[in-house]
Symmetry: C2
Subunit: 226 residues, 2 copies
DNA sequence: CGCTAAATATACTCACCAGTATAGTCTATA
DNA sequence: TATAGACTATACTGGTGAGTATATTTAGCG
């Protein structure tokens, strides 16, 4: 659908742009517009799968369902992904990427660990409320082959280590008090991941507002100051 | 297995206990020992299902699997539960019960809301680390028929309301500061529920120890006191 | 002992669905 | 305009697993 309409006007640029460097020419050559098109379609497949998985669950969504939502048939879906499992994995990875980006961005700043943790939590919440976020949380190991499961676990562990790292740094730079990193990271990740279970798009609060409250809660706690 | 061995010695008590009241006699009559036996077996089915679901996931566990683990065949399982969905629901309910009991116990004490919240959280953590706890967390709506889904939702909502209630009371009795109840309840429930995703029985910390740390975290937070 | 009901098993049905073999169609390009 | 290959569809296979029809055994009970 989106692919069909974008393809036509992208096709014949190269003939007029042959003065550019070979690399640039290659970028806009028809064959590469096809490649980009393919990627765009692939993304659409993954996005549609994510929405379907979130709506009905992974096991209750057949590839025929997904194909139907894309107005194509099953073999077309298989033309873009190897199998259903990989589809879930791609959804998982898309959600993960958003969170990893937050760590990357924040890693190159001079902010205190506490401030960085807050930023990561906000981006985390944003990611979790997306269709991909749902897949990230739900992509439980039992749905995946051992090989995929290992991959997922190691990627999830990166997030966990990122959180623990920030908490540890907070103890060093004095912005956070000393506390069992592992438990703190699990508590924060749990609270954030759980958003995927209750959040609906008609929710009164946005992801940013939810994150704001969570940050306050994990910062100063619930106990009344004596 | 368990059913087979317990049946034999439970069967012929009534003959020697016929001096008791009719009610007591009835309690120990063969027909009632059968009833109790049936319930015990049913519990065994549910317990086994919970363990299997936790180990391999709901959709990757067939009723043949469960039957095999009980050394019986599928129709026997169907003799104790109506269908697979109900099996999951019973597991869910077993986990839920433990948490509801915590609320009940704590409701009749004179403790501060903060103290009561701590006790509930500890029992909650305990429940979540059990096989039933896993089912409770995972029994997502997409696995259940609309009718069951509604039931599950309303039961889950009771827990949520219980948590919110304690937080609200804390603001009244001065043991907790004022804070968005809904978000606080979601954060706490999320952190606790998430335990089911990472906890393994060989975990260094017990459920009680995890709860202890979570309680501290949610009480005073991570921020270093200025 | 013989009847009744509970408990369990054998041996199916039926639907669903992941994945594929095969054959068309369209498009860029030589 | 002929060809290669990218894309998509039709129509299948094969396996799995929920649920059941039916028979058989076991245990209580008059």
């Amino acid at each position: 659908m989106a692919g069909r309409s974008t393809r036509d006007n992208a096709v014949r640029k190269p003939s007029s742009a042959s003065a550019a460097t070979p690399e640039a020419t290659a970028l806009w050559s028809p064959v590469n517009s096809r490649v980009r098109d393919r990627e765009r379609k692939r993304d659409a497949v993954i996005q549609t799968a994510a929405r379907a998985f979130r709506a009905r669950g992974y096991h209750n969504t057949s590839l025929d369902d997904i194909a139907a939502e894309l107005n194509v048939t099953k073999p077309t879906v298989y033309h873009y992904v190897q199998n259903k499992e990989q589809l879930l994995f791609e959804c998982f990875r898309a959600g993960l990427r958003q969170i990893m980006e937050a760590f990357d961005e924040v890693g190159s700043t001079k902010l205190s660990a506490r401030e960085r943790l807050g930023i990561v939590m906000a981006r985390y919440a944003e990611a979790i409320t997306s269709d991909f976020g749902w897949c990230m949380v739900q992509a439980e190991n039992q749905d995946l082959s051992p090989a995929m499961s290992r991959k997922v676990k190691s990627l999830k562990s990166e997030i966990d280590q990122g959180l623990r790292g920030l908490i540890r740094e907070g103890a060093r730079d004095g912005s956070l008090r000393k506390f069992d990193e592992k438990m703190a990271a699990f508590a924060i990740a749990g609270a954030l991941n759980w958003i995927a279970h209750w959040y609906r798009s008609d929710e009164a609060l946005t992801a940013a507002e939810i994150a704001e409250r969570f940050i306050e809660l994990f910062s100063i706690g619930l106990e009344r100051k004596a």
